[in-house]
């Protein structure tokens, strides 16, 4: 998920080619106050005319505590991004307020209610404490996303390379998102010149259960993909487990053995999830089993 400054046409027009699964067109931190109007209009035009292909497009709007919030929604919602990213969600009320405004805008523009989703950004201690309520405040909420920079500022701690200061917050975001049945996205790695640090962090957040991670530079995209791409041996084993489970079900057997080990329900669920992820990366289990 690649962040792109909303006021940079040179970057926006190349949004589909960087290899990211999704792009986050930013109207918030990446745009100077004097250029908020220009970025908003530029993004709205690009959303209408640019073919983003299979790249999902999300727009990070300015927060509800700014004078730009409602105007951002007014201009961006009719241009139909997949979702808007709401910064600094503190409570379910923040989601409900955005939801009501979005519904009214969609209605005025002849759009089906709920066309545009919400990615709720949790970047304060208070927001994190309300993670599950925020995730379930509206069916529009498709993802929780951690804002590590603002959160560490709110906590009064430094953002370290190891990231232990975010360990609890990450666990909380994953747990709430999973409980609500929505996606969990991790925060950015800000040091573009430290791909090793990014690789280690990306591996950690994949193991914690995140379903995506934001990037601030195209060079970070392959590093993040590498962390999410299943290990080929694990993928082949997952394929054998799922295939064996399907066969056992056909034969009415409850217990099965794969590679000499007993396999039960949760293992099959995990294997299926890993298989689905591998298929997204173009992996094929049956060719190498």
């Amino acid at each position: 998920m690649l962040y792109m400054p909303g006021n940079s046409p040179g970057m926006l027009q190349h949004a589909p080619v960087f290899g990211a699964d999704s792009v986050l067109l930013d109207l918030e931190d990446a745009v100077a106050v004097a250029e908020k109007d220009a970025a908003r209009r530029l993004v709205a035009h690009f959303l209408r005319v640019l073919d983003f292909g299979r790249v999902e497009v999300t727009v990070r709007i300015n927060g509800a505590d700014t004078p730009y919030f409602e105007t951002d929604l007014e201009e961006i919602i009719p241009a139909r991004p997949s979702a808007v990213r709401l910064p600094k969600c503190q409570s379910p009320g923040d989601v409900l307020r955005a939801d009501a405004l979005m519904t009214a805008i969609e209605e005025r523009h002849g759009m089906e209610a709920g066309t545009v989703g919400i990615h709720a950004m949790l970047e304060t201690a208070r927001g994190l404490e309300h993670a599950f309520e925020i995730a379930t405040a509206s069916p529009r909420v498709k993802a929780l996303t951690l804002g590590g920079q603002d959160l560490t500022a709110d906590l009064g701690v430094q953002k370290t390379r190891e990231g232990w200061e975010l360990f609890y917050a990450r666990g909380r975001v994953v747990m709430a998102a999973r409980a609500a049945g929505i996606a969990a996205f991790d925060t950015v790695w800000t040091d573009v010149d430290d791909p090793e640090g990014l690789a280690a962090e990306a591996k950690q957040i994949v193991e914690m259960g995140f379903t995506g991670k934001a990037a601030i530079h195209p060079s970070q995209i392959p590093v993040i993909h590498e962390a999410f791409r299943p290990d080929p041996r694990e993928f082949r084993r997952a394929w054998r487990i799922v295939t064996a489970a399907e066969e056992a079900e056909r034969q009415g057997k409850g217990v099965l053995l794969v590679d000499g080990r007993m396999v039960d329900g949760p293992i099959v669920v995990r294997a299926q999830r890993l298989l689905d992820l591998g298929v997204l990366y173009g992996m094929k289990g049956d060719e190498t089993a």
Partner: protein
């Protein structure tokens, strides 16, 4: 309606800088690295947008750094809205 001078955009690659100034008449000046290849098409677009905003009498200067039409439209619209807001 009254307008003040206003600008939008930049001189960065793939962008354009739109400058508007009050005038008793419409005038259009187009600078670009492609030798005016898109000058006619851009002028038609400018006239259409000015018409839509009800502001046919302005001096419009565009320095085009290879902007797509979407960028040109967005920059001109914002320049117009900034010119109006200053009233």
């Amino acid at each position: 309606m009254r307008y003040e001078a206003a600008q939008a955009g930049t001189l960065e690659s793939s962008d354009c800088l739109v400058t508007l100034a009050p005038s008793g008449d419409f005038s259009f000046e187009y600078r670009s690295g492609n030798g005016g290849l898109f000058a006619e098409r851009t002028e038609a677009m400018v006239r259409e947008i000015l018409e839509r905003y009800g502001t046919p009498c302005l001096r419009v200067q565009i320095s085009d750094q290879g902007a797509l039409e979407a960028t040109l439209r967005a920059r001109l619209e914002i320049a117009l809205e900034r010119a109006l807001r200053k009233e």
